[in-house]
């Protein structure tokens, strides 16, 4: 072999090697791309964007204040910005924040961040989520204001004790006795989609009451209803398809339509899940333990019928004062243009009927009040304002009159809307006693500790004195 031939062989090998290397890198990149995409799906299912995007902010840049009974908690920047976001997080630190509620600096998150539910996330999903947040999200250099809760809740270390009591420590474990579909649904419902965060009632210490899982909870001024399979109190009479339709579009025709925080959850998160995943969630939800409330004597969406009270309207002038308008007059003025004269809605249900509708059939009328005040607004699916709010047009008294008229004729006649209820909802919810309670408890504890200290000191002093007083030779 002559020298040039040898040279060209070496060159050829080098090219080959280089080629192989490039191939490997490309393979790694595409694996990375797939991982990032999977992570994006997990982030969507977990609805991170809803809380971690402030008004007018870039996605995940934080700044949204979530009202809690102890004050507003402001979401943080979780973009990969190294200065203002989580760009310096290792995967382990990321995992600890998401699943244990502990930040890289060791301080504790407040459980407004549903790490209690995210603790169910599998290692693979957390890994993908990390890949997405590091490589799939644009870094944003902006720092939202810090959360400042009143004493004693400004002491984040308190959460360590709370976690000890309430935090689940293990990722989701599939139940081998159940189908793969059921297990997938259980994982999504309990983990990333964190349905229980809103739908499970909370105890005095704001932890989910696992004994009443999905039996209905309070979300600010809204009520997250019972979604267990109880026929009357829950969604037992919903078909699997009803549930899928609802999670995909916010509408279960002839039964319910999403508003408020649920509309937001569907808008940003659930409607983007695959049909198979939505079906899996429905399969699982049909099997969770049913929770029944004796007060619910028939399904929430089985109340009411078409009704109009034209005789009380026609030929009679409106009262001078807006507050004196009757239920039929208010309905005629503000509702009938869309929901029609007898509450029957439009022929295709696009404008929903008010009877056979969970909005009017529920004994708890908080959501009815909130929908009248705020309307129904979707942010990303293009439908925008599905129903306008009337907070600017209707007084508290008018909403109480109208709400009670609507439940009486189109919904559950036992359900009422009261003046105080409307005023409270309009004000953003009832003030919480939690801070006062915590401070009183803390004061009691401090008093007891002080008493113990005094008692110990006194005891010691007394003993010393007694020792000093004792006869010397003893």
């Amino acid at each position: 072999m002559n020298a040039p031939a040898c040279k060209s062989l070496v060159a050829g090998l080098a090219v080959l090697l280089l080629g192989l290397q490039t191939c490997a890198a490309a393979a790694a990149n595409s694996a990375g791309a797939a991982e990032i995409q999977r992570g994006q799906y997990v982030a969507t299912a977990s609805d991170c964007v809803a809380c971690h995007t402030g008004p007018g902010a870039k996605p995940y840049a934080g700044g949204l204040a979530t009202m809690t009974p102890i004050g507003p908690v402001v979401s943080t920047n979780i973009t990969p910005s190294k200065t203002d976001g989580i760009g310096n997080y290792t995967e382990q630190q990321f995992s600890r924040a998401v699943r244990k509620g502990i930040r890289a600096d060791g301080s504790h998150l407040y459980p407004v961040m549903p790490y209690t539910e995210y603790s169910q996330l599998t290692d693979a999903d957390v890994q993908a989520l990390y890949a997405y947040f590091m490589h799939g999200v644009q870094p944003v250099a902006s720092k939202p204001p810090a959360t400042r809760l009143p004493f004693p809740f400004n002491l984040r270390i308190l959460m360590a004790g709370w976690n000890l009591l309430f935090l689940n420590r293990h990722p989701f474990q599939p139940d081998p006795a159940q189908s793969a579909e059921w297990n997938r649904g259980a994982y999504l419902v309990e983990g990333p989609a964190h349905c229980g965060t809103c739908h499970t009632p909370r105890n005095l210490l704001m932890a989910s009451k696992s004994s009443d899982a999905l039996a209905g909870g309070v979300v600010g001024t809204w009520f997250a209803p019972n979604i267990t399979p109880d026929a009357n109190s829950g969604i037992g009479n919903w078909s699997q398809q009803d549930i899928v339709d609802y999670l995909r579009s916010g509408r279960a025709p002839g039964k319910a339509q999403a508003a408020g925080p649920m509309a937001e959850a569907i808008d940003y998160s659930l409607r983007h899940l695959t049909p198979a995943d939505l079906r899996a969630m429905a399969v699982y939800l049909k099997t969770v333990p049913a929770r029944h409330d004796a007060a619910d004597t028939r399904p929430v969406d089985a109340w009411g019928s078409a009704y109009a009270d034209l005789a009380s309207l026609r030929g009679k002038p409106l009262p001078k004062h807006a507050d004196d308008m009757t239920g039929p007059q208010l309905y005629d003025a503000y509702c009938a243009s869309c929901h029609q004269d007898q509450g029957q809605g439009s022929f295709d249900g696009g404008l929903p009927p008010l009877f056979h509708n969970t909005a009017t059939g529920r004994f708890n009328t908080d959501n009815l009040v909130m929908v009248i005040l705020d309307g129904v607004r979707w942010h990303t699916d293009g439908s925008g304002t599905r129903m306008p709010g009337f907070s600017g047009e209707l007084t508290d008294r008018q909403i109480a009159t109208l709400g009670t008229y609507v439940t009486q004729h189109f919904g559950n006649p036992a359900a009422k809307v009261t003046l105080t209820q409307v005023a409270t909802a309009r004000a953003g919810g009832a003030p919480s006693n939690l801070i006062l309670l915590a401070r009183i408890l803390l004061a009691i504890v401090l008093v007891i500790i002080a008493a113990i200290i005094v008692w110990v000191v006194l005891a010691v002093v007394r003993r010393r004195r007694r020792a000093a007083d004792a006869p010397a030779g003893r």
Partner: protein, 541 residues
């Protein structure tokens, strides 16, 4: 006893033009006070009153009537507010309440066509505008984005940026008109301030077909939306404040306005700048009333042009039965037009016009006709169904040329507060009548293409009015011939501006609101130029 009061800018009139000019100024940090003669009203109560009204065809019937802010009303009988001096009647309608007359309108929000502003140069008739169409384009765009205008791409009015909203879905009747007239006429979706989808927090149109007298769901942009947006920007609105005098100081600057409250207590409000935006009849009325030894012809009237050149859009029409069921009445009231006669060399000879299809439910008019014919029993029901399904109507919207003898003056008759009532002097000239004559060819062809029977032309020489009150404050460069300059500033008073349809020098063939809003935004920008570009652009709040 007068209450002293002041603001940086006082706006007289809370209609869509005054309110949006006020909003623009407030967004630029200017304290603004709006004085509105009429009361504040509530949409729901208007809706309830309309449903309860036995006079569904009278679009004024659900609106409250305030003795201190009289407005023309003709049903059940003429209230004698707008006095007719003839020779042709001018029964204009407008509403004096917070939000103004666009509480009830068809929401047609057309732009001009470019040649509309040059008809003197091009066709030797009317006057040219003191600006080009191109200069108006950005103001149109801003207005369209505030109002949420939905439109098609074949309107005939060029634009640099797309409409904020796609056209509103066609009702069945208009689909059929479009399909059947296609060989001869392009039927164009109307450009409307009506939501084809949710926009700016307001919902999409759900087709109640009661755009007039009231959009019950807030899908159509109304003056009250403008007022609420102005208030959100910091503007103060004082209802029930009937301005009766504009006061100039020795240097010719406007110093104050005087208003009565409903008890006729007088108040005086001072400001550095003033906007008169009280509509094409009330604004000139107020200027003409504000006489003094220095201004014996009233404020801003050294030219004698205040109140003159009154224009509107007369319409004649054809009603007929189509040979298929069209069922007018589903969807908005005014969905489509034919624009082929809005411009052309013919404008030197006769009026241009737009052809406008109504989609108002025919049940009421057919019922009234059947009762008048004495039809009853099963035949009544059969006929009602047949006719209501097939009856349709096309009308022209005719251009009127400016004529100084068509004018608003003051009557010796007074309203409840002792303020003179306005008088309308009006005529319809041969130019317009020739346009009407020409449009009958189109009417006949349209009826033919729709298999029309039972053709009923409106009687020759009889015209319906469209409430597009224009020309009475007309803008132009020559102080001897025009009331305001090209930016709406009074030629006679450097701190008095005028907004509204009255400033338009010609009426062209489109509903006047959008052009008036665009001009009002331009006027506000001229009064207080933006510090940095784009600070308050993009209308959606």
């Amino acid at each position: 006893m007068a209450t002293p009061d002041s603001a940086e800018v006082v706006v007289i009139g809370s209609g869509i033009c005054g309110a949006l000019a006020a909003r623009k100024l407030a967004l630029r940090g200017v304290p603004v006070l709006i004085l509105e003669a009429g009361p504040r009203i509530d949409r729901g109560r208007i809706v309830a009153a309309f449903r309860n009204s036995p006079r569904k065809g009278d679009w004024m019937s659900p609106y409250p009537y305030s003795p201190w802010a009289m407005q023309p009303q003709y049903k059940p009988k003429d209230n004698g507010y707008l006095i007719q001096a003839g020779p042709y009647p001018y029964p204009a309608e407008y509403i004096r309440v917070v939000g103004g007359t666009t509480w009830h309108w068809a929401a047609q929000a057309w732009r001009l066509v470019p040649n509309d502003v040059r008809i003197k140069s091009l066709y030797g008739v009317g006057v040219d505008w003191p600006m080009t169409y191109e200069e108006l384009d950005p103001w149109y765009q801003e207005a369209e984005e505030i109002l949420g205008v939905a439109g098609a791409d074949n309107t005939g009015s060029p634009r640099k940026h797309p409409f904020p909203l796609p056209p509103v879905a066609d009702p069945w009747s208009m689909i059929r008109f479009r399909e059947r007239l296609a060989p001869v006429y392009p039927v164009v979706a109307n450009t409307v301030a009506r939501n084809s989808r949710s926009y700016d927090g307001r919902p999409a149109c759900v087709g109640n077909n009661s755009c007039q007298p009231i959009c019950p769901v807030n899908a159509q942009y109304l003056g009250i939306n403008a007022v609420e947006a102005a208030e959100a920007a910091g503007v103060k609105v004082r209802a029930d404040a009937v301005v009766y005098r504009i006061e100039a100081d020795a240097k010719g600057r406007i110093a104050a306005v005087h208003y009565y409250d409903p008890d006729k207590t007088s108040h005086r409000v001072t400001a550095r700048q003033f906007i008169l935006a009280a509509n094409g009849i009330e604004s000139p009325k107020l200027l003409l009333m504000s006489t003094s030894s220095k201004y014996p012809n009233g404020i801003a009237n050294s030219s004698g042009m205040v109140g003159r050149h009154l224009m509107d859009h007369p319409s004649s029409s054809l009603t007929f039965y189509a040979d298929e069921e069209l069922w007018l009445g589903r969807g908005p009231q005014s969905p489509s037009s034919i624009n082929t006669m809005r411009d052309g060399a013919f404008r030197s000879q006769h009026a241009a016009y737009r052809l406008d299809f109504t989609n108002i439910s025919q049940v009421l008019s057919v019922t009234e006709a059947l009762i008048a014919e004495g039809v009853y029993g099963p035949e009544f029901e059969k006929q009602l169904r047949w006719r209501a399904a097939r009856q349709c109507n096309v009308k022209n919207v005719l251009e009127v040329l400016p004529n100084p003898d068509n004018r608003i003056t003051l009557s010796s008759e007074k309203d409840a507060l002792g303020i003179p009532k306005p008088v309308a002097h009006y005529s319809i000239d041969d130019y317009t009548r020739r346009g009407a004559e020409r449009s009958k060819q189109d009417f006949a062809k349209i009826a033919e293409l729709m298999g029309g029977t039972g053709l009923r032309y409106s009687p020759d020489g009889q015209f319906a009015n469209n409430q597009h009150i224009t020309g009475t404050l007309r803008m132009g460069d020559d102080p001897a011939k025009f009331v305001t300059d090209g930016f709406g500033r009074a030629h006679d008073h450097e701190n008095l501006y005028m907004c509204g349809t009255g400033v338009m020098p010609t009426a062209a063939t489109m509903n006047s609101t959008l052009t008036a809003v665009a001009l009002a935004l331009r006027t506000a920008d001229h009064m207080v130029p933006a510090k940095s570009s784009g600070a308050d652009n993009g209308g959606a709040t």
